[in-house]
């Protein structure tokens, strides 16, 4: 919001977290950051380009299975395995996007769903590579690179995740503010018009899906050594639905919002499940209440509360109207 200051403060606080938090909280926080990266990657498609993907779990699952496979069967250092898995996910996405962008609207969503389910079916049956319904278990955090064992430990791994999230965020923010990002927003608002301005919108859409899958794959690739396993649930459509909801609850088209949405999702499900067995009931109610009363999401709500005070006191309506663009 306020340039880089807010970001640096937040990253600074997060960097101090291992010093102050108990191990259980650190595990939760690490998982929340991984999911945050995943949700943010989807926001590039949903929030900036209005490509509503029902199959983003495919990115996560691809990343998780690839990094899991590399760590189990080769000696590659974990950070390199993670990067390789993310890139693999992005490369696969080019093919997927090439097919999916033949359609638009609901059909696009359904095609992404079909691809993700196809991968799910493959992962379920290709026993020699994916371990079928058992998944890949006992995925190690291989030491390295250059002989360091820093990333093997709990806080070291946390820093790896934090760096990936921060790097991903900086990358996405630069991307959406670049001319490329303007074209994406053009596609979101009016694809026909953007096309008639001479932009090959399909190429842009394929590119954004590939970038989104690379980052989503990065998140999944981090999850496999984090949890020590990868199973078919990471590819299941329910997970795609969940991440879409994280994006919407947090606030689509804001990058920060989906990260908060993911953290909120993790936090609420953990708090509720420790408090009551019927957490899903309250979870469902929270979703419905959000849709009815806070459609702009958590981040939108926060921004509104913040600017409402400041703008109302000093500069009046004009600023608040122009600030949203």
């Amino acid at each position: 919001m306020r340039g880089w200051l807010g970001t640096i403060i937040v990253v600074g606080v997060l960097a101090c977290a291992p010093a102050g938090l108990p191990p259980f909280a650190m595990t939760l926080l690490t998982e929340a950051l991984i999911l945050g990266l995943f949700a943010m990657s989807l926001d590039l498609m949903v929030g900036y380009t209005r490509l509503i993907s029902f199959g983003h779990a495919a990115a996560y699952g691809l990343g998780a299975y690839t990094s899991g496979y590399l760590l189990l069967h080769t000696d590659i250092a974990m950070p390199f395995a993670v990067i390789a898995a993310a890139l693999f996910s992005g490369v696969v996405a080019i093919g997927v996007a090439w097919v999916c962008t033949l359609a638009s609207g609901v059909s696009f969503s359904m095609l992404t769903l079909a691809f993700a389910q196809l991968l799910y079916a493959v992962a379920f049956k290709w026993t020699s590579v994916t371990g079928a319904s058992d998944g890949l278990a006992g995925i190690p955090r291989s030491p390295g690179p250059f002989g360091t064992t820093f990333f093997v430990g709990k806080s070291g791994f946390y820093y790896l995740v934090l760096v990936c999230l921060f790097g991903g965020f900086v990358f996405c923010r630069s991307l959406v503010r670049s001319p490329f990002g303007s074209v994406l927003r053009g596609i979101r608002e009016n694809e026909a018009k953007t096309l008639s301005l001479g932009y090959n919108t399909r190429c842009y859409k394929i590119a954004v899906v590939a970038i989104s899958f690379t980052l989503g794959g990065l998140a999944g690739a981090l999850y496999a050594p984090f949890a020590g396993f990868a199973n078919t649930e990471l590819l299941f459509w329910l997970f795609s639905g969940q991440v879409l909801i994280m994006v919407i609850v947090g606030g689509a088209g804001t990058l920060v919002g989906p990260i908060i949405g993911a953290a909120f999702f993790m936090l609420v499900s953990n708090v509720l499940s420790s408090w009551t067995d019927s957490w899903a009931l309250f979870f469902g109610l929270i979703f419905i209440l959000f849709v009815l009363f806070a459609p702009q999401g958590i981040w939108g709500l926060a921004t509104q509360a913040f600017t409402g005070e400041v703008a109302g006191a000093r500069r009046g309506r004009w600023r608040s109207l122009n600030w949203t663009g």
Binding site: L111, A114, K125, I245, A280, G284, F290
Partner: protein, 289 residues
């Protein structure tokens, strides 16, 4: 086992499976056609139907009473949900419906667990249709034969309802052009409430009919919702004949695929969906190009 009896029994088996899938798909496609909603809660509604049917059968002691009572009760619930919540959202984009129906699915799953417990409940089918019948000397459960028949009867009934009645005309018109129907003096919101209720009712009918086969359990919703999506996507979202074709296609692929290529059956279903969507992005009989 010789080939012909095997083929015949498998075909009837697939037909019975198609009937169950059709009850789900037709509700989903009607709801999508009228409201442009992708109803994520449809599987949970189907599950709700099975559990309400279980209780109705317990109270009345008759499967037939449950078969009538459960869809009506669930349809009323669906109408109330449309009236109370969905109605506020028609001016918003599709993500609102996604979240609301996803939330409803979570809530229903939990409410069912709280009310009926987490154990699978056995529902007894009608006595008249228990046991087996011999088709070309092959034993075949009568109940599955009954399901196939019920599917055909209901499909014909819905077809005639959509084609011949005034309400059917209104439903078709609303899915074509809701604003025009509204301008001609029909309360479109009433049509929407009704169709959402009817769609939920059909899902519940499917749930009650499936219960004697698979028991009423908490896993029902997840096991069918994706099949229902596949059917509707293959057939074309919003198309009634499309949902029929989709249900038949998916059922035959499932039944024969599971027999001949058990490892590939699941992938094959999604592959068909992909091919259909790539060739015709709107589905086989869909409107969107």
């Amino acid at each position: 086992m010789t080939l012909l009896p095997f083929l015949v029994t498998q075909c009837v088996n697939a037909l019975s499976q198609a009937a169950l899938l059709f009850f789900l798909g037709v509700g989903l496609t009607l709801i999508f056609g009228i409201m442009r909603i992708v109803n994520f809660a449809h599987g949970s509604i189907y599950m709700l139907g099975a559990f309400v049917g279980y209780t109705a059968a317990r109270i009345t002691g008759s499967f037939w009473a449950a078969l009538i009572a459960a869809p009506i009760l669930v349809a009323l619930f669906g109408t109330a949900f449309e009236f109370g919540i969905l109605r506020r959202l028609y001016r918003r984009d599709g993500s609102a419906f996604l979240m609301v129906t996803f939330g409803l699915a979570l809530i229903l799953g939990e409410v069912i667990r709280l009310v009926w417990g987490s154990e699978a409940l056995q529902v007894k089918g009608p006595a008249a249709f228990s046991g087996v019948v011999f088709i070309l000397d092959e034993p075949f459960p009568v109940y599955r034969l009954f399901l196939a028949g019920a599917g055909i009867v209901v499909a014909l009934a819905i077809w005639q309802f959509l084609e011949r009645t005034r309400l059917g005309l209104l439903i078709r018109a609303t899915s074509q052009n809701a604003e025009m129907v509204h301008a001609l003096g029909t309360d479109v919101n009433l049509v929407r409430s009704g169709v959402f209720g009817i769609g939920c009712g059909f899902a519940a009918l499917g749930g009650v009919l499936a219960a004697p086969l698979v028991t009423a359990s908490l896993g029902m919703a997840a096991s069918v919702i994706i099949d229902a999506f596949v059917i509707v996507i293959i057939g074309g979202m919003g198309s009634f004949p499309g949902s029929l074709i989709g249900a038949l296609l998916v059922a035959f692929v499932q039944v024969f695929g599971n027999y001949y290529f058990p490892d590939l059956a699941l992938a094959f279903m999604y592959l068909i969906m992909l091919v259909v969507l790539v060739v015709r992005p709107g589905g086989l009989l869909g409107k969107e190009a």
